[in-house]
């Protein structure tokens, strides 16, 4: 049985959650660090560079030592930048809680961020080709080459402060061991940050995929899983975009032959899970208005939903939240959706704590969904689609 214990370890310290799992053969330590608020595009570029430059190490852990110590459990150190937060994850063999905590503490509070590391990070990001789907999900059009060293270090000083952190300790640990690490390593409040410097930026040019593929997206407002209406909205997400009997697959792929890949994604942000209905299609000059056509077709499909649709949505939600569904829409990292791995369970706990101030047990969400009814789900689906914003990223010709 896995217990979920969320609490504030110190009055002004980080938020902490423990996810002990006696069956795990590893320990996991994660930090979630929100970005400074209201970032411009140029500032967002610096935020991405910062995450990449963190791989270069800290005062105590050089790049080589990070790779060595960070992969002892066979799971490499992971530092992922999202639109408005960074996630650091260290996995160690059982008994390695202290080492994992040291690495996370060192990266969060004493990263080196040398000029060379930042230059290397810019090079890595500009030469990266994450593929069409990841480009669509991470739809920022960022001019990394204009980022300055000062910007990156200023962001780090602003964001990486003990009181901003959400920390997760999980896997093969005893209850209370995470708190002890927090008291030992994250008790000191960070020194007052330098004044935040804002950076002017060039007007955003239109983002374009490197590949000849256009992606279309309908994006709704975030779900926190704490509001009364969230159960209906979540069921609507599953009915619309999860699985091959979901409306997107049935309508956009099977009936209209428009796409190969189409799905709903619940994308993590500091304010909740962002419902995003995305489909990709070979670029053509016939695509103008396709997003509206798709939305209208999906709205029409909602009218046909019956009790079977509701049953399917509940079943897919239950298997997704149990970590048993490879088509789960909840993304807990930038490489894929939530699963039952100890790393993903830790990420879920940390993300929900960061989003809402309280870690949410997925089982309670399943319980709430079981009470949803067909009319509520259909109404929520119509509202999601009606209020969604369009995002189209054209493909290269």
């Amino acid at each position: 049985m896995i217990s979920w214990v969320a609490f504030l370890a110190l009055a002004s310290g980080p938020r902490v959650v423990e996810v002990p799992d006696p069956r795990a053969h590893t320990v996991v330590v994660e930090a979630f660090v929100p970005a400074p608020p209201n970032m411009s595009d140029k500032e967002a570029a610096a935020w991405r560079v910062l995450a990449e430059a963190l791989y270069d190490g800290s005062e105590e852990f050089s790049r080589d030592r990070l790779i060595q110590y960070g992969s002892q459990a066979g799971v490499p150190l992971s530092i992922q930048a999202f639109t408005d937060f960074i996630k650091i994850q260290v996995v160690e063999p059982k008994g390695g809680l202290k080492v994992a905590s040291q690495i996370v503490e060192s990266l969060c509070l004493r990263a080196t961020l040398t000029d060379e590391a930042i230059t290397e990070a810019v090079h890595a990001l500009t030469s990266r080709n994450p593929g069409v789907w990841n480009e669509a999900l991470d739809d920022l059009n960022l001019a990394y080459d204009k980022v300055t060293f000062e910007q990156v270090r200023n962001d780090y000083a602003q964001a990486f402060r003990t009181e901003n952190l959400t920390l997760v300790f999980g896997g093969q640990i005893e209850s209370g061991e995470g708190t002890a690490q927090v008291k030992e390593r994250f008790a000191e409040p960070s020194s007052k940050p330098p004044r935040r410097t804002r950076w002017d930026f060039a007007p955003r040019s239109r983002l374009r995929h490197l590949a000849p593929v256009t992606t279309f997206e309908l994006r709704a407002s975030p779900l926190t899983l704490t509001q009364a209406t969230d159960a209906d909205r979540l069921l609507a997400v599953f009915a619309l975009g999860v699985g091959k009997s979901g409306a997107m697959h049935r309508v956009l792929r099977e009936a209209m032959g428009l796409t190969y890949r189409q799905e709903a994604v619940l994308w993590p942000t500091t304010t909740g899970w962002l419902p995003r209905f995305v489909f990709a299609r070979k670029a053509s000059d016939q695509e103008l208005g396709l997003a509206v056509t798709a939305k209208d077709a999906l709205l029409k499909d909602v009218d046909t939903w019956d009790e079977g649709t509701l049953t399917r949505a509940k079943a897919m939600a239950a298997s997704s939240l149990s970590g048993d569904n490879p088509l789960c829409p909840f993304w807990t990292g930038s490489t894929g959706p939530y699963s039952y791995s100890v790393e993903d369970r830790c990420s879920w706990a940390g993300l929900t704590l960061m989003m809402t101030g309280a870690s949410i047990d997925p089982a309670t969400v399943v319980q709430a969904l079981s009470k949803g009814d067909l009319d509520g789900m259909k109404m929520a689906a119509r509202t999601l689609l009606d209020q969604a914003q369009f995002q189209v990223i054209p493909g290269s010709s």
């Binding site: 069956r23 053969h25 791989y55 080589d64 790779i67 060595q68 992969s71 002892q72 459990a73 066979g74 799971v75 490499p76 090079h123 890595a124 500009t126 030469s127 990266r128 080709n129 593929g131 069409v132 789907w133 590949a211 000849p212 593929v213 699985g243 091959k244 009997s245 697959h249 792929r253 032959g257 428009l258 796409t259 190969y260 890949r261 990709a280 299609r281 070979k282 670029a283 079977g308 049953t311 399917r312 079943a315 897919m316 239950a318 298997s319 149990s322 970590g323 048993d324 569904n325 490879p326 088509l327 039952y340 493909g395």
Partner: protein
């Protein structure tokens, strides 16, 4: 009648397992393994290409069939399985087409029934065929740059006949419905089929049900074919990047595992690199791709003096990968289903111990070979 049965009981790590392997009289191989404590079940039905690989004329037929068969004989298979919280996924590789059902542990019985239905009956009409070729055309543009490099690597190492299993949608438009139906008969030949189910399940009841569901399929003879071994590693490049390609033997060989370990180690130490290996009992390929802006020569320079550390990282990741594979129903069922038809002696319940057959020295040797190749033979 049971032609062969092996009962395995083992205590591996913290999980006790019971596994049953059986070959049905018509040739279907069935393997079921209990992994206690998992909430999930996975069932994979693989059709392994035991006979002649695709030719220029049939290129892409198996991939097209994968799409069409996965819909089910009445085109409604997803509705039923998703109502139980299950998901059906399908994949085509060089040596197999797999259909996998993942779901809660109490759905194993339904999974076996559904997978059996997929290979028991098939029909397709002209418009369905054309629509699916159109969808494959949409799929083709989504292929990542590193998978395209992998395809180049196969051609360079194994020759021009090593056709990419994706196929060419433009050529698929020439397929007739009759040819596709004949392709199904070959794909559903029991002598090519292997069903593997893993999770917190009862192996005996799974095997019993498999006998009922798959035992009635009619077999036809296949002419065995084997891929010739390749030995020399190679570098391939495109405008998108560069890949080091290491030819390997079958999956369970220790030399193959050493190459996979080397791939893990290199991926861990080279920023932005991708390692790809598709498990097969036949000779295969481990590739490590670097995106444009990084050359393998630069990578070899970066690794100079660090090779032993890279080998250690590779060993750690290989162990973790095998441990996770052994305890994850999805990974275990997919791996077993693709390996067993060509290597019946393969024991999936031993996967977590396979790293014991590999030494860090072997991995180091593979890493040095790649670095020497990347440096133009100068290291």
């Amino acid at each position: 009648m049971i032609s062969a049965a092996i009962f395995l009981g083992a205590c591996l790590g913290h999980q006790s397992r019971v596994a049953i392997k059986e070959t049905l009289p018509n040739g279907v191989i069935v393997y079921a393994q209990r992994i206690e404590g998992t909430t999930q079940m996975a069932a994979t039905l693989a059709s392994v290409s035991k006979d002649q690989p695709e030719t220029a004329d049939s290129h892409g037929m198996r991939h097209l069939l994968e799409h069409l068969v996965a819909k089910g004989p009445d085109k409604d298979v997803d509705k039923g399985v998703e109502g139980r919280g299950m998901v059906l996924l399908a994949e085509t590789t060089r040596d197999s087409v797999t259909f996998s059902l993942h779901g809660p542990k109490d759905t194993a019985s339904m999974a076996v029934t559904v997978l059996g239905q997929l290979v028991s009956r098939f029909d397709v009409n002209e418009s369905e065929l054309r629509k699916e070729v159109g969808i494959l055309d949409q799929e083709m543009v989504l292929r990542s740059w590193n998978l395209l490099l992998v395809a180049d690597g196969w051609r360079k190492v194994y020759g021009a006949d090593a056709l990419d299993p994706f196929g060419d949608p433009a050529k698929m438009t020439n397929f007739t419905t009759e040819a596709v139906k004949a392709g199904f008969q070959s794909l559903a030949n029991p002598k090519k089929l292997c069903l593997c189910v893993a999770g917190d399940i009862d192996p005996e009841s799974v095997v019993q049900q498999a006998r009922e569901v798959l035992g009635g399929l009619t077999a036809t003879d296949v002419t065995p074919w084997s891929r010739p071994e390749a030995t020399d590693p190679a570098l391939v490049g495109s405008s998108d990047g560069e890949a080091a390609c290491i030819p390997v033997s079958g999956f369970s060989e220790s030399a193959t595992l050493a190459s996979i370990g080397a791939g893990f180690g290199l991926q861990g130490w080279l920023t932005g690199s991708f390692m790809v290996y598709t498990p097969t009992a036949r000779p295969g390929l481990v590739t490590v791709s670097l995106r444009t802006g990084r050359s393998w020569k630069q990578a070899a320079d970066r690794l100079k003096g660090r090779e032993a550390l890279v080998a250690r990282t590779g060993m750690q990741q290989l162990k973790e990968w095998l441990t996770e594979t052994a305890s994850d129903p999805v990974r275990l069922s997919e791996l077993s289903a693709t390996i067993l038809p060509l290597r019946p002696g393969f024991d999936p319940s031993r996967v977590s111990h396979m790293a014991d057959d590999v030494s860090e020295e072997q991995i180091l040797g593979e890493i040095r070979a790649v670095c020497t190749l990347a440096s133009g033979g100068s290291q």
